[in-house]
Symmetry: C2
């Protein structure tokens, strides 16, 4: 028993398919009598329009694709959440496709989106992917995220450089001088911008630099923390290129008997929900991730709706991270009392739902 088509409905209501379509889409004039007959037939046959077919004739899918390198962790889950929220509100659907680390795979994924989506959001933290998106998507509107300052294409990027400078300046302001950096993976544009910001800010302050390699994972942060703890002249401040590594490093340091923040202050980047919950709470540069996702989707939809109109919204929106100070750098709250801890929690409300 196959699902009913618009022709079945037309036959049953004894009208033409055009009339059924008009009733269902709300476009075009119909008398109340026919409308009623059509609705009854729809009801009786449990008819639901076939969106695939509709897409084909209107060349609109009301769907956007999201191409991600990966889907692990809170960063991307928050991002998707924000996008999904905006998508619902605008009547769009979301196709997610992740785990595209290498360019070849990402290219295939983009290609397979043709005819399935009206536009794409591409997160490409690696070099070259930006070009990819442009060349492969045909005439699909594409919004780039985290792709470095790729001029000439609509994009949203985080001010990684500025954030890193702010992190270092904060550490200096709290009296730290021997400040190390735990870097992200090479080739990742965001990691490189954060490193550059660190180097620049240190140079500006006339301080010597120390860089330890990392890979954006908690494990790599832990490893870096072990190295830092074992150094002859141990740093008294660390700026990690993301929260995950900062948290990993903090654990390693504490295991080695180094007190945070008394002996060594730690700053992360991103403000993932976890950052406010670890002990001590992590000072970090907050990006409102969900909000960024929402904004990205809304912008893409705007691009889609104004497609063709070359009023060229090729702007590169810059999101400026905001410094959130928590006990990991603030000796004033080094032994968090009940009050201070509670207030820290209150200051950083976590998005939460009724998950089991």
């Amino acid at each position: 028993m196959k699902p009913a088509t618009i022709r079945d409905v037309a036959r049953r209501a004894d009208v033409s398919v055009a009339s059924v379509s008009r009733v269902l889409t709300g476009a075009g004039p119909v008398t109340d009598a026919t409308r009623k007959r059509v609705m009854e037939a729809v009801e009786a046959l449990q008819y639901v329009p076939h969106s695939g077919a509709r897409s084909l004739s209107t060349s609109k899918t009301s769907t956007v694709g999201v191409i991600l390198p990966d889907l692990y962790g809170e960063y991307f889950s928050e991002l998707i959440r924000g996008m999904d929220l905006a998508a619902r509100a605008l009547g769009y659907h979301l196709i997610v496709s992740s785990s595209h680390d290498d360019a070849e795979e990402a290219s295939a994924a983009i290609r397979s989106m043709r005819g399935r989506v009206d536009g794409l959001i591409v997160l490409s933290p690696h070099l070259g992917a930006a070009n990819l998106a442009g060349s492969l998507a045909g005439r699909l509107p594409v919004l780039l995220m985290n792709a470095g300052a790729d001029a000439g294409r609509p994009s949203i990027v985080v001010d990684n450089h500025g954030g890193a400078v702010a992190a270092v300046e904060h550490l200096i302001a709290t009296g730290r001088r021997r400040i190390a950096h735990i870097a992200g993976p090479t080739g990742n544009l965001e990691a490189e911008a954060r490193l550059a910001g660190y180097l620049e800010a240190m140079a500006a302050a006339g301080l010597p630099t120390t860089v330890v390699d990392g890979a954006f994972t908690k494990a790599s942060g832990h490893e870096a923390g072990v190295q830092l703890a074992a150094m002859a002249t141990r740093p008294d401040g660390v700026f990690a290129a993301n929260d995950n590594m900062a948290i990993g490093a903090m654990l390693a340091l504490q295991e080695a008997g180094v007190r945070v923040p008394e002996d060594l202050a730690v700053v992360g980047f991103d403000d993932v929900p976890l950052a406010g919950l670890v002990h001590p709470g992590l000072t970090t540069l907050r990006i409102n991730i969900a909000e960024m996702g929402r904004s990205a989707l809304e912008r893409l939809v705007k691009l889609i709706q104004s497609a063709g109109a070359a009023d060229a919204d090729a702007a590169c929106e810059v999101v400026r991270p905001q410094l959130v100070v928590r006990p990991s750098t603030n000796p004033a709250t080094q032994n968090p009392t009940r009050a201070s801890r509670a207030s820290a929690a209150a200051a950083v409300p976590l998005p939460e739902g009724e998950n089991p």
Copy 2:
């Protein structure tokens, strides 16, 4: 400049559309000469097949829809990750649609999937949604998750009852007697099953019960923790209906000066990544969430591919959670040394990617 269609390619290669289709799909016989000509035309025109059109004629979309109540937090993000992984491997795409708390909205979401997907995975923690899925999806294969033991439909459910019993028995085994329960939201089938398991296990042991209300959020757990700490005869053990609440409660208890696990042991449910990182590490019932997502998707695809064939895989697969003991209930590791904390971390490897 519109993207090229199969007819453009055919014209340019001076063959029929049928031949182009045969070359591109790999089906049907073609000489090397025509294949070459077609490929050249494809290359020259940058042709990419329109998957929407292809779907219409083959009535296959290679896409599955996932209907979620919400997208917050690690539980669902892990679930989606598992599904996405499996989907890629099987050549499927994933449409996610979340935030459907009320039945009406969920029903609309399911309806809008017609013609867009080949099958659906529906997570319906609330009563009635199960029926919904059945009645609304037309003849789409549907896989239910967490919908209670809804016989007669393919589904995957967690053995919440059994897990709850295990949690209580573990607390009893470690010498606790005054064991309270922080319940999940009423109406949520999973929460109710966990509550029932708690009540039953306590009754079996001849112990009195205490139930505090919660809502599966960290905040509600915190509130419950405050209540517990203030009780005249304070419990010496707590089983929370999920990790989020357990963590919230643990924070509240510590703020009130109650030592965990010495004064009071805490057990959660789910084993979200965070559970192994809080202090003290949280004993919990582990569900391999990503794995469950993967398995769900694979099963749905199997359903799709064998559609029609009424060999009726209407089985209800049961996932049994596994007790993971961490310091929150184990006084032996109450002051975690470096070694013990490191081993705890090692025992619970976290999935991690290169997120910024």
